[in-house]
Structure formats: structure tokens, C-alpha cells
């Protein structure tokens, strides 16, 4: 055959057709794709046998199932934390903080993995014995010099076994300055104690058909978030026959948007709204009979009629009279209705006035001790770790000795210690919390930590506080150690959860309780005698002796009151409901002076509640950073604050403007997002970002809300308040398009 043009074309066409018909091309492409993807830096997670183990996340009180893989070479590891459908409190499902537990537990850049000590200003790893010896020596010296009261302890949870150990340690050592981070549990207990003589109360949300939430983020972190969402899911089960949810707050939050009715009240007037509704019910003659026979009813009725009449309340709250009336009628008519109070939008412990107004409204409705109302919880059948101990006689720095129920206040402690009046602090032990970040007023806490000569941090993470500390004792995550947690805020049933070690990650990390016990042992004397336990497990065994023993409890994972207890008893001195509580000197609760914006600081700043960011107590995992939308964090590190378009217009500000929010306490830089749901005259800032620790995923992302927060003591409870801060806004230059 001649190799002419025709032959060449034939050959070319044949080759193309042949190649098309053969598997060569796709096969080669496939192979090339695979060959070009076999890179050593793409991890190849080793497989192995899979097992499940149940536990509870003490930070969120979610019952979880952990998925463990046991591999031949890489050993046992946790790959997932999932919801446990059989858990009676959370009944399956998780929140983002639960699902990202493995990341936070394994990430070296976040965790404190070994005891550390600062020597000549440089922090380095040391053996545990050396670190403990140093702490004990320092505390011993102070005690010897009669300065035991100049040691303060700031801790996270008074209800945990670690909390109880710290109470015993503080008493034995001789310091009155043990404070716990403020929580709404304290405010609710106080309000219940004053009105009902009962401090262990909850809300039967699951059975309620009409719920009014007064300023608390019911769907964004209330109580045990997963358990609360189960109640919400039950309300929304049948689209044609839904339970009613009413949200009272200034911002169109997630809860407000999911509510059937949103009462957009002026900031700080939630309690006024509760009293206005109570007044309407009393005026209509439908108030419960227990209220009519309550101590101080006439005075109460006259006060409501005078100060919280419909027109005045409408004016004070900014909500139309018709809307208030409609809600009052709906609430009254509903067979199972409850009014709910709780932590504020940035995790603050709430105002006593609001809580008392809400509880009084429930009493007026007559839902105390009824299904779907306010219920009394059983006391947890736990046993004390030993005989009660006498508290030191030195007055405490935070002034808690003078308060009802002795509620402590970490902020007041810091202010008093900084001023040195009545005495300064020589040492500080921080257990399981991060006051240098979450304050409540971060700058003050940072100053305090900076000023105190000797600071110890018992922490799971190398957080802002740990980075400033002289000694860091690494705490284990709940996957690695024994520990416990008690009834979440507002739950209708008493609950107690236990977690146990499932896996070893950092060999030197111990439970917080183990560090407290080790320290007590090292101190010797009274401290060691007050805590005669070998380890946290032994202490838990003593604590849970009346709950069927630790082994059985650990196997099950929890103890829970079988069902909500209905029926109500007033345990006040008079044996009646006290609408003019004796605890307040027979006076009616009065609203806190409303924080008013001034000419210098014309706006009010509040936090944005979110289950994506949390309330700042726990760091976010890399995955949690990933789910933040660009209305929370934008342009790598720009925190985004919300402002009403009209307010922005009045201030000559626009979408994406970078501004500085300044309060009397500090300032933060944010980008602005114009959001119609933000109340005019306010600026709303995400909480929990702006860390200066925790590695590349979290460090320097956004700004810290708590650095701009100005804390004031609640006039009723004495607890620190940071729900609203007067601020000014000024352009800081630059525009970022959100």
C-alpha cells in the first residue's frame, strides 16, 4: 500500500476511532488521576475494630456516644462524638460543641499537654512533682505568714465534685476567696428562695403548650441545649397544632424568629413586660387563688396597677398594647403555660428583678407545680465529701458575706483585689475557666492576673489565663478522666451525670479533681485531712454512695429523677407565697436603674447568642470556626457586628464599615452588618471570638466581646451583669464588604 495522503487520513481516523472504542483513554486518565493523588502528606487514617462507649459532655450536658477505633499500629483513638438516643436528658442529637470534641481533645496547639512552670519569665515543661511542690511551697509560705486569705480561687462549676473539693480545700487552707463563675442558676435559686422559699426549681418546657421566654435565648444555649431543643421539637411536631412560643427581647434572634410571636421590647424591659402581663391577668380577675392569699398581695396588686398598667407598660417596653394584651390572654387561656427566665444573651446570669417578675407571673397564672409549668425538682441524693467545714472568719474580697445566699462575684473580687482594699491578693488559682478571656470584664481580669505575684491555672487548654500563669497544671478532657456534672439550668428533673476515662491522649493530663487532691496532699495538714481521697474516682464513689454506687452509676452514666414532680409547697417563713419577700426586707422588687445611653456613649451593646460561637466559656474547635457565616466572621479576622440600618444611617455608617466600639471599659474593632432585626439604638456583637491563644484556627480571629463589656453589679442579687453596655461607635477606617 502506498503511504499517500488518503492512507494517512484513513490511518489517523482509524486510530482516533480505535482509541475511542478502546478503554485505554479512560483507563489512563483514571490511572493518572490516582497516581497524581498518592501523596505522602494526605493522611491515611488507619482502620481497626470499632467500638462505642457512652459518656456525657459536662460542658453541654449532652449524653453522647463516642466512636472508638482500635487500630494495630496507631492504637485506640476517638473518631467521633455522637448523640446518644437512649440518654434520658438529651435523647440523641448533639450541638456543634459536642460533635467537635475529638478535635479539641487531640489538637496539641490548644491543649495543655504537660505541667509547665515559668522560670525567670520563660515557661517550660516540668515534672508534675516539681510543679506541685512549687505551688504547695508558695501556699505554705503564705499560710505561715498569716496571709492564707490572700489566696483566691476562681473556678467554673460549684456543683461538680471539683467544686466541692475546692470548697473544702479553701476552708481547710483558710481563704474565704473562692468564687465561681457567675451563672443564672444562682439568680433563679435566689428568686425562688425569696418568693417561694424554694431554690430548686425548673420549667416543665416539654409539657407546656404556651411558653413565653423573657429575654433568654431559649434555642441558643438555654440549659442543656439539646434537651431544650427536644422540647422545641415536641412543640413543632404537628404543623397544624403547634404549641405557642412567645419571645420577648429587643433583637430578632433565632428564638424570636422561630417564635410564633416576637415582642420586640426595648432593652432591659423584659421584667416590665412580665409584670404588665401579670397585671392584666390580675385585673381580669383570673389570678390564681394562691396569689390572692399571698403575703403582700394588696401591695403587689397596687404596685402592678400603678407602675405596670397596660398603657404605661406599652410605652416603657415599646410594644403595642394590643400585642401585650393578646399575649396575656393567650397565656391565661392556655391550659399549660409557662413563663421562662434564664441567662442573658451573652451568658450573663440575668437580673433578679426580671427573674422575680417572671416567677411572680407564673404564680399569678397558677401553674406552680403543674404539668407544663414551674416545677420543684428533687434534691440530688448525693453525699457530702466530709463533715461541713467552718469558713474562715476573714471577710471575703467580693463582699459575698453581706449578700442573700452569699452569692459570690468574681468581678467584685477582682476590683477589690486590684485596689488592695481591704487586702490585696498574693496568689490566684484558676480551675477550669478562662477569666483572662471571658472575664466577665476581660481587661480587669487580665490586670488582676498580671498583678498577682503567683498564678496557677488548672486547665485543659493552653488558654489566655494559662499563658499568663506561673504554673500550668494540665487538666484532662472528659474523654480521659473521671468527673461529674449536675442538673442543667431550668431542667424539670434533677439530673446527675458521670463520665469516666475512655481513652488516654496526654499521659500527664489529670482530671481537675486529681490536681486539687494532689495539691491538698502536698499541702498536708488540714487540707490533706479535708480531702482524704486517693483520686477523683474515690471522691466520686463517696459522693454517689446513695445513688447505687459508682460502678453501677458509671455503667449507666447518669442518675435522673424519674419524672417531673407536680405539686408545690411554699417554704417561706410565712408558709405562703411572698410577693413582698422578707428576704428583701418586705419590699417589692424594683427594677434596676435602666442603663441609659449617654451623649458620649449613645448606643447599647449586647451579645449575640449562638450555639455556633457559644458564650465564650469554652474555646471553639477548628470545625466550629468553619461553620461561622460571614455575618459573624469575615475577611479572615474581622468580627462582624449587627446594627439596624436606620441607626447606621443616623450615624452615617454603612454596610461593611469598619468601626471601633468603645465602652468605658475597653474597645473592640468590628465590621458592620446592617440587619433589620437589630433593635434601633443598639449594636449586637458575637460572643466567644477574638482569642489570643489556641493556635492558628482560633488565634486572632475576630475581637473579644468581653473586652468591651462594662460590668455592673445587679442591685438585687449582687451578681455581675453585662447584658447591656453603653458604647460609642466611630469609624476606624476601611470598608469590608460583608
Amino acid at each position: 500500500m502506498n503511504w499517500d495522503r488518503r492512507a494517512f487520513v484513513k490511518f489517523a481516523v482509524g486510530a482516533v476511532v480505535g482509541l475511542q472504542a478502546s478503554p485505554l483513554v479512560p483507563k489512563l486518565m483514571d490511572d493518572v488521576a490516582i497516581w497524581t493523588q498518592n501523596w505522602s502528606w494526605v493522611p491515611d487514617p488507619e482502620t481497626g475494630s470499632v467500638a462505642f462507649a457512652k459518656s456525657i459532655n459536662p460542658d453541654t450536658l449532652t449524653g453522647v456516644k463516642t466512636r472508638l477505633v482500635k487500630a494495630r499500629l496507631s492504637g485506640k483513638r476517638v473518631i467521633r462524638v455522637e448523640g446518644d438516643p437512649e440518654h434520658p436528658l438529651s435523647q440523641g442529637g448533639v450541638i456543634a460543641a459536642d460533635a467537635s470534641v475529638p478535635q479539641k481533645a487531640y489538637y496539641n496547639a490548644m491543649r495543655a499537654d504537660a505541667p509547665m512552670m515559668r522560670k525567670e519569665g520563660v515557661r517550660g515543661r516540668v515534672p508534675a512533682a516539681e510543679a506541685l511542690k512549687k505551688v504547695a511551697e508558695k501556699l505554705g509560705e503564705l499560710a505561715k505568714a498569716g496571709k492564707a486569705s490572700q489566696v483566691a480561687i476562681i473556678a467554673d462549676d460549684p456543683y461538680s465534685v471539683t467544686g466541692e473539693m475546692l470548697m473544702r480545700l479553701a476552708a481547710a487552707y483558710g481563704t474565704p476567696n473562692l468564687v465561681f463563675m457567675p451563672s443564672a442558676k444562682q439568680t433563679l435559686a435566689l428568686a425562688g428562695q425569696l418568693l417561694f422559699g424554694q431554690n430548686n426549681i425548673g420549667f416543665d418546657l416539654l409539657n407546656s403548650s404556651y411558653t413565653i421566654s423573657f429575654g433568654t435565648p431559649l434555642l441558643e444555649g438555654f440549659g442543656a441545649p439539646v434537651a431544650t431543643r427536644k422540647a422545641f421539637a415536641a412543640w413543632r411536631k404537628d404543623p397544624m397544632n403547634r404549641a405557642t412560643l412567645v419571645q420577648v427581647e429587643p433583637r430578632s434572634s433565632v428564638t424570636a424568629s422561630q417564635a410564633d410571636l416576637w415582642l420586640a421590647c426595648k432593652p432591659g424591659t423584659e421584667g416590665v413586660m412580665a409584670f404588665a402581663i401579670a397585671n392584666l391577668i390580675i385585673q381580669s380577675g383570673q389570678a390564681d387563688s394562691a396569689v390572692a392569699s399571698a403575703a403582700g398581695f394588696d401591695q403587689f396588686k397596687a404596685m402592678l396597677a400603678g407602675m405596670y398598667g397596660l398603657d404605661k407598660a406599652s410605652q416603657d417596653t415599646g410594644v403595642s398594647a394590643a400585642k401585650i394584651k393578646a399575649v396575656a390572654e393567650g397565656f391565661m387561656k392556655a391550659p399549660k403555660a409557662v413563663a421562662v427566665c434564664g441567662p442573658g444573651n451573652s451568658g450573663d446570669p440575668g437580673r433578679l428583678f426580671d427573674f422575680m417578675a417572671v416567677l411572680a407571673l407564673n404564680a399569678v397564672k397558677g401553674n406552680l407545680g403543674k404539668p407544663g409549668g414551674v416545677v420543684l425538682r428533687e434534691n440530688l441524693p448525693w453525699k457530702a465529701l466530709g463533715e461541713p467545714m467552718a469558713m474562715p472568719k476573714t471577710p471575703s474580697l467580693d463582699g459575698s458575706d453581706d449578700r442573700i445566699m452569699g452569692l459570690d462575684n468574681a468581678y467584685d473580687l477582682a476590683v477589690a483585689a486590684l485596689s488592695g482594699k481591704p487586702y490585696p491578693l498574693e496568689a490566684l488559682i484558676v480551675v477550669g475557666c478562662n477569666p483572662a478571656f471571658s472575664g466577665p470584664q476581660a481587661k480587669v481580669m487580665q490586670k488582676l492576673i498580671d498583678q498577682i505575684p503567683f498564678v496557677v491555672s488548672v486547665s485543659e487548654y493552653l488558654d489566655e489565663t494559662a499563658l499568663m500563669a506561673d504554673v500550668v497544671l494540665p487538666a484532662a478532657s472528659f474523654l480521659e478522666c473521671w468527673g461529674d456534672c449536675a442538673t442543667p439550668y431550668g431542667a424539670s428533673q434533677a439530673f446527675y451525670g458521670v463520665h469516666q476515662p475512655l481513652i488516654g491522649i496526654f499521659p500527664q493530663a489529670k482530671s481537675q479533681g486529681d490536681w486539687v487532691l494532689a495539691l491538698a496532699k502536698e499541702l498536708g495538714g488540714k487540707a490533706a485531712a479535708a480531702l482524704p481521697f486517693a483520686d477523683t474516682k474515690a471522691a466520686l464513689a463517696a459522693r454517689t454512695a446513695a445513688m447505687g454506687g459508682l460502678d453501677a452509676l458509671a455503667k449507666k452514666g447518669y442518675w435522673m429523677q424519674a419524672k417531673p414532680a407536680y405539686g408545690f409547697a411554699f417554704k417561706t417563713a410565712s408558709g405562703r407565697l411572698e410577693l413582698t419577700p422578707q428576704g428583701l426586707g418586705g419590699k417589692l422588687p424594683v427594677p434596676a436603674a435602666c442603663i441609659a445611653p449617654s451623649k458620649e456613649r449613645p448606643l447599647l451593646m449586647a451579645g449575640i447568642p449562638s450555639l455556633r460561637t457559644g458564650a465564650g466559656q469554652q474555646p471553639l474547635s477548628p470545625y466550629q470556626i468553619k461553620i461561622l457565616d460571614n455575618v459573624t466572621l469575615a475577611h479572615k479576622d474581622q468580627l462582624v457586628a449587627e446594627i439596624n440600618p436606620k441607626t447606621a444611617h443616623d450615624l452615617h455608617l454603612g454596610e461593611g464599615d469598619v468601626v471601633e466600639i468603645a465602652s468605658a471599659a475597653g474597645k473592640i474593632k468590628v465590621g458592620l452588618h446592617l440587619y433589620h432585626g437589630a433593635a434601633p439604638g443598639m449594636v449586637f456583637v458575637p460572643v466567644g471570638l477574638g482569642h489570643t491563644a489556641f493556635g492558628m484556627y482560633l488565634k486572632d480571629k475576630g475581637a473579644n466581646f468581653f473586652e468591651a463589656v462594662e460590668v455592673a453589679a445587679d442591685p438585687g442579687s449582687g451578681l455581675p451583669q453585662w447584658a447591656l453596655t453603653p458604647v460609642s461607635i466611630a469609624k476606624a477606617g476601611g470598608v469590608s464588604h460583608v
Binding site: P26, M29, D30, A33, I34, T36, Q37, V42, P43, P45, E46, T47, V69, A71, S74, I79, R80, V81, G93, V94, I95, A96, A99, S100, P102, Y106, Y107, A109, L219, E220, P225, F232, A233, P239, S252, A256, S257, Q258, A264, S610, L611, R612, S621, P622, Y623, Q624, I625, K626, I627, D629, N630, V631, A634, H635, K636, D637, P645, A678, A679, Y697
Partner: protein, 263 residues
Amino acid sequence: MSSSSSGIRYGMVIDVDKCTGCGACSVACMSENNIGVLPDETDKVRSITWLRVYQIDNHKPYPDTQIAFFPRPCQHCAGALGHHTPCVSVCPATATDRDEETGIVSQIPTRCIGCRYCVAACPYHARYFNWFDVPWPDGLDRPLSPFVAPRMRGVVEKCTFCFHRYQRAKNKAFVDGSTVAEKDYQTACTEACPSGAITFGDLNNPEHKVHELKKSPYAFRLLERLHTNTAVYYMSTREWVRRQADNYLSHEKLAKVQAGGGH
């Protein structure tokens, strides 16, 4: 409704009225599927989120503003006539395919040549391209799941309805001599949602909850007028939410589009 050769079509019904945008589904998905985290995740063009939760609002002034959330996994389109999935139809490397047995649109990263036609074709932004190799520094590789291979740069990835869970359930069913029941195969996001807003199952099986839910008068799908015939339904009693599921003009009435029709 198109169906696969086996008659099974896995899908979801997401109740927008129960979703509070907490992101639990999204994080559960990331941890199940070894999704990587880049040092800067605010660049949403580069950020990979198989299940992204979008926030919308009703554009009304204060105090009538409302927000709602749309969790958006891959919609697992069947296409107008049951065989025209937008991404599958453009993939030159057969790296993505619609499984006739389950109705699930797969993604095989090792076959992907990174041309990104599928990313452009997807009307839901459900497909993501790995612009970078993901770092797994300082112990972050320890909690990686061995059941889903981590991806490298240069390939596309997306939600697979946790297909590895289906394979596991199928293996188990084979060993037991049974079939895959509703509870045996659930996606990670479904299990994670604390409100129970996500329901997953076989849309064609009357015994599965989704079969009934999708018939609700409040059920709708995203961009239904494109006739993509998706396997993910949403539910909301709020009309403004339903309107934003498709590009309705202000004067247009909300109409239920019959799926499966031609263009």
C-alpha cells in the same frame, strides 16, 4: 417522581421551622467525612462545607424581621426525566455518577481530574473544589475516620449522603439475610440534629417517614422550577420562606411545581 431501577430513592425532608441554625449537622458531617479546615475559613469560595447552613431573612423592617435557616447538603438531583443530573451530565471523567440503585449522586475523588465543570453546573453550590492541600497539624489527624478517605488538592468533593454508611448497612443486611431498614442507614447530619429537623429515608418507601412528609402541603424543594428533581425536600409553614426557595418575582404567586416535567 423519578425512581431508580431498584425503586429506592434516598432523600431527606428538612423542617425549616425546626432548624435553629446551630450548625450541629454541619460539624457532624465534617467529622464523619474528614472534611479539612484551612487556616482561613472566612473565604467561603475556598471553604469546603458539604452541608452548609444558609441564613435568610424576610427583608422586613424592625420589628417584623424574621430569619430562617436552610441546611443545604447535595440535593442528589435526578433531573427532569430521572436521568439528567446537572453535574453528572457534564463530568468528563465519570468521577460523579447517579447510582441507579439508590438515587444517590456519588463522587469519586480519585477519578476526578479537577476540571470543575460539575461545580459550575451545580445550581446549589453543593460542590467544592480543593484549592489547597488541607493541613492536619499537631494531632488533628488523630480523630480522622478510617471509613472516608481524606482528599488531596485538585479534586472536587461533595455530600454523598454518607454513602459509606449505606455500604456498611448493606453489608450487614447481606450477612443477616435481611434488607436495609430505615434505622440501619441514617446520615450523620440526621443523627446529629438536636431538633429532629432532618428526616432521612427512602422517598419511595411508604414505610419510611420521608414518604409521608414529602407530601405535606408545606413541603417544597430548592429551585424547583429548574426541574432538577432533587431528593432533598424542605418544609415550612411560613410562606416567605417557601418563596425564597425559588426565585419568585414579587408579583408571582407561589405555585407548587410538579416535579419530573420537561423543560
